[in-house]
Amino acid sequence: MRRPTASFNRGMQTVTLIPGDGIGPEISTAVMKIFEAAKAPIRWEERNVTAIKGPGGRWMIPPDAKESMDKSKIGLKGPLKTPIAAGHPSMNLLLRKTFDLYANVRPCISIEGYKTPYTDVDLVTIRENTEGEYSGIEHVIVDGVVQSIKLITENASRRIAEYAFEYARNNQRTSVTAVHKANIMRMSDGLFLRKCREVAENYKDIKFTEMYLDTVCLNMVQDPTQFDVLVMPNLYGDILSDLCAGLIGGLGVTPSGNIGANGVAIFESVHGTAPDIAGMDLANPTALLLSAVMMLRHMGLHDYGNKIQTACFDTIRDKKVLTKDLGGNSKCSEFTADICRRIQDLD
């Protein structure tokens, strides 16, 4: 991940915390407890991001949330609700547009101790996060005919390709694969692919390959070890990153980070709000916790990140206090307490 622009800072760093909906608040509390146990130098500033209509009728996030993020530059976010079909726009999309979060990064690494049919998964999906199929531009042409517009621009494609290669270089990854469907979407995916090829010229130390989306899917479920860093437009990224999350155990254990243009980065859990178990102390905080670890590494606080991750993985490997989705029947608070205890023992 990119080095933080702030100089080395022994004092507390402010992070904007967005607990979110459903199980969001309880897993955020769990993360805060664990950070406290680790004595991480993080000061949390809680903010809410329910959509409000600003002047001119455009939907926007509350101004105090924006202000906090602009100052702190780093955010940690729980799950937000998105209604299906009609209604106000997706809150996640709104956040991305507001802070120009153009890269969604999801490292998928098999968790030792949480068995899935796939072992040795170690790949990263880097998804263009601002345009593509999620432009939100749809029209009813005539009654019964709908048109959705997929937008691919030179600038966004170049930017995401550059980020992917930079990431590969900074994280000692050996190859970057561009995922596309340029055989069908000749102009749009063709443009994306061309930009990736151009950027690859400046990174001769990294191997560059191209693969059709369907071939990637086909090969991914047979042998995921052949993949390293994958870069792709929005929709393919959405599908593939979830597919890869499925390989390692699901959204409950997958971290995610969104990188923006002005040094802004928001790390988030990508699972849903789980309204059926909200408020019942049953939620699994692992995804949010691992995203927070990703955040610590992004901020240069690797020691704290490693300590917390080790404690989390040890708890999972031990299998004594697992939440229901991990195969146990312990409470969220018990799981959290176990991790806190291990952190304190590690010191």
Partner: protein, 354 residues
């Protein structure tokens, strides 16, 4: 298959079927199909039409389309799309599907006992809308460096594919149909698709209907694929889901696919791979293409021939375990085909009995 009558066999009880060899492994696999058909005395004559993917003109593909209109049925390999050519040179395969209005792509993914996979007991039917959606080939560069690609969803095509899915489910005795979509983001487009599925579902109270967002679907497929029965979806998601499912049951060499319209039917391998890197090396898996040819025989109501060949294929796969490299074996394509023909010979009637 619902709604489609095969063309009557003219010319002395023999059917004529259009054969498009395509590129990569297509030609060699289709040669094996012809070999097996000749050996089994299948009353099918192939009209071979070549499509040169290196040419920019559409004459070749138009000839192929005319031939299919004439014969009503085709068996094809994949035609390569050289996307280094100008964007106006569209995918030949896509042109074929849209010109003939082959609106339903049907794929049946089943776990085969003789093939080693991570997941067992998979039995999923995927029905994919085959003509519109993201494959509308409507793109333009409105401003330099900004490209718009249009995804079209229509009520008519969505109702049509949903109806196909439910009819097929009923015919095959399946219990549940799941619509795959992304209506939380594409509220109008996928929203319309979903709505059409719901409307059709209300006419089939004996079949359970539910829906799932596409990213969740892929996640569920890699962890618990046994939960799915019949799935219906627009074009692009169909591409993703069918490839994931093919991978889950053992790879692209195993699964046959069919494209149906009201008037025509075209059979091919389900994942439509050209397989350039393994072409002409006698290592490609002939199973998918041979099973596709059996689907074609069923369509032509030549059920006995279809069963005979299919049984021989599955016996080779499951009992002798003569496998090609893609499923972990060391057999060559021709060894597998020879084994299949030996089974047909041992089980089949002598031609003197027919």
């Amino acid at each position: 298959m619902p709604m489609l009558q095969p063309p009557p066999a003219k010319y002395g009880g023999r059917h004529t079927v259009t054969l498009i060899p395509g590129d990569g492994i297509g030609p060699e696999l289709l040669n094996h199909v012809r070999e097996v058909f000749r050996f089994s005395c299948v009353p099918v004559d192939f009209e071979v039409v070549h499509v040169n993917s290196a040419l920019e003109t559409e004459d070749d593909i138009n000839n192929a389309i005319t031939a299919i209109r004439r014969n009503g049925v085709a068996l094809k390999g994949n035609i390569e799309t050289k996307h280094t050519m100008a964007p106006s040179v569209k995918s030949r395969n896509n042109l074929l599907r849209t010109s003939l209005d082959l609106y339903a792509n049907v794929m049946h993914c089943q776990s085969l006992p003789g093939v080693q996979t991570r997941h067992k007991n998979i039995d999923i039917m995927i029905i994919r809308e085959n003509t519109e959606g993201e494959y509308s080939s409507l793109e333009h560069e409105s401003v330099s460096g900004v490209v718009e690609s249009l995804k079209i969803i229509t009520r008519n095509n969505s109702l049509r594919i949903a109806d196909y899915a439910f009819q097929l489910a009923r015919e095959k005795g399946r219990r549940r149909v799941t619509a795959v979509h992304k209506a939380n983001i594409m509220k109008l487009g996928d929203g319309l698709f979903l709505q059409c599925c719901r409307e059709v579902a209300s006419g089939y109270p004996d079949i359970t209907f539910d829906s799932m967002i596409v990213d969740n679907t892929t996640m569920q497929l890699v962890s618990k694929p046994q939960q799915f029965d019949v799935m219906v979806m627009p074009n692009l998601y169909g591409n993703v889901v069918s490839n994931v499912c093919a991978g889950l049951v053992g790879g692209p060499g195993l699964v046959p696919g069919a494209n149906y319209g009201h008037a025509y039917a075209v059979f091919e391998t389900a994942t439509r791979n050209t397989g350039k890197s393994i072409a002409d090396r006698n290592i490609a898996n002939p199973t998918a293409m041979l099973l596709a040819s059996c689907m074609m025989l069923d369509h032509l109501k030549l059920y006995d021939h279809a069963s005979s060949i299919r049984n021989a294929i599955l016996t080779t796969m499951n009992e002798t375990r003569l496998h090609t490299a893609d499923i972990g074996g060391q057999g060559t394509t021709s060894e597998v085909v020879q084994s299949i023909m030996r089974f047909i010979q041992s089980k089949g009637q002598l031609t003197t009995d027919l």
